[in-house]
Symmetry: C2
Subunit: 246 residues, 2 copies
DNA sequence: TATCAGGCCCCCCGTGGCGTCAGGGTCAAC
DNA sequence: GTTGACCCTGACGCCACGGGGGGCCTGATA
């Protein structure tokens, strides 16, 4: 009924997590409604990554503070995620180093890597969002034929320059709606406007903040500078837009 | 020297992952420079979460494609992270449900939770970014005194409405620079402008996209709708800004 | 030279959450 | 009576070691 294996029930019985309502003279385990409900609770917490021991503590102590346990577990999950993001960054750096060590195929590998990830990303988008997304992607790809590696590099350089400027402004304690941040935002938007007809590929440039959300290269950046820069930049973007657009 | 335990070396010897350069007549294991280098490689991949078996495959096959192995592992890590983010969301929903079941302390719990996380977030910001960040935070807090729960709720409602509209537009296949998306963006920016003097708290509202990057409630949203909505929204924001600002 | 501290060795059990045999009993239907 | 689908217990295996027991080896000191 619940999809757990017999062996699992044996195990839960053995460790005293879920005992049958009744054991027949033949040794058979019989479970009732209460046990089913308890099993569902067990499966819920197990799904969340609780250990069986923790689950027993949560379910057996009547006045146990479940919200505290959940929040505790939440923190553990967050730590886990941070650690894994850090590992992702290390892998990316290692891959980059490996590519530098093989200069003959450098660009090829880089391009292949990018194209592969781009394709995977687009496939996932269509999978999740349905065929309408394919139209958007096709539109974007239609204008992308003229793009070269140099364009891509220039784009990345511009982004890096703006981010570096923002980081400096943050470190210097300049206000997010001060002239420096505003100038950087203007530069960003003007760059977008100038290159508009070139149909900037969406995944490579969907606004600085979007990169932050959609691309995991951002995650590395985010891990490096923590939340500060992202918050500062978007504050600046928002204030800029609010002032300029009324 | 490398910080691994003797027991670990025994284990690696037993499974054939790292054998000593020489074993003395007394049975002692002696390791040389080559073994140290190999051990460092092992520790590197172990840190990344490779299993010892995978590490052996990576190191022992001379022509083995390490970049492929790394990319493979990268995908596993990404899946892991996605799964954990999903669990985070479930925990949050469960916590919310538990709070609804205890209506007497509902607001208190909610507020306490929020204040606690806000404080932790601010502390981390200052920790990472240095004392300048404290100034920004103090500025923001200074204007935050007038905020009530109702303001907060209205803010969330407005955000939810805009996001829902965007989701509809995406599903309907409307272009990101079409009139509907533009209208939503205008509404968003106008709302910012109208509430400007109220000094919107940065962590609660640092622009839609920033929420996506900085707050993990976004991560739940992002997981739910996948990348599509985020990309679509930011595309719309960028195009709107580019058109309006020339 | 005896002793002593501090290594080293091998062997074996334990962890968690079960999967997977092996060997045997039970039940309902035909 | 047979068949096939269940059930039971008991035991071993996984993975990456930690930890303990009992004994050997080495270098320094009394």
């Amino acid at each position: 009924m619940s999809g757990v294996s017999v062996r699992t029930l044996h195990h839960y019985d053995a460790i005293g997590l879920l005992k049958p309502a009744e054991v027949g003279t033949n040794g058979y385990r019989y479970y009732g409604r209460d046990e089913l409900l308890r099993l569902q609770q067990i499966l819920f917490y197990r799904e969340l990554g609780f250990s069986l021991d923790e689950i027993r503590r949560v379910l057996d102590a009547p006045g146990f503070d479940r919200t505290a346990a959940l929040r505790d577990h939440r923190r553990k999950l967050e730590t886990d995620i941070r650690r894994r993001r850090c590992l992702l960054r290390t892998i990316d750096e290692t891959l980059a180093a490996l590519e530098r060590d093989a200069p003959m195929e450098e660009t090829a590998m880089y391009k292949g890597f990018d194209a592969e990830r781009q394709a995977a990303y687009e496939r996932e988008l269509v999978d999740r969002q349905g065929p309408q997304m394919q139209d958007h992607i096709d539109q974007a790809r239609a204008g992308r034929a003229g793009w070269r590696q140099a364009d891509h590099d220039a784009l990345q350089a511009e982004q890096a320059a703006i981010e570096a400027g923002m980081a400096r402004a943050l470190v210097d304690g300049l206000p997010a709606d001060g002239p420096e941040a505003t100038a950087l935002m203007r530069r960003h938007h003007q760059w977008v406007a100038r290159n508009w007809n070139r149909e900037v590929p969406a995944t490579a440039f969907a606004g600085l903040a979007a990169m932050y959300a959609a691309d995991d290269r951002f995650q590395a950046h985010y891990d490096a500078r923590r939340a500060g820069l992202a918050e500062y930049m978007t504050l600046a973007m928002t204030r800029f837009a609010a002032r300029e657009l009324g």
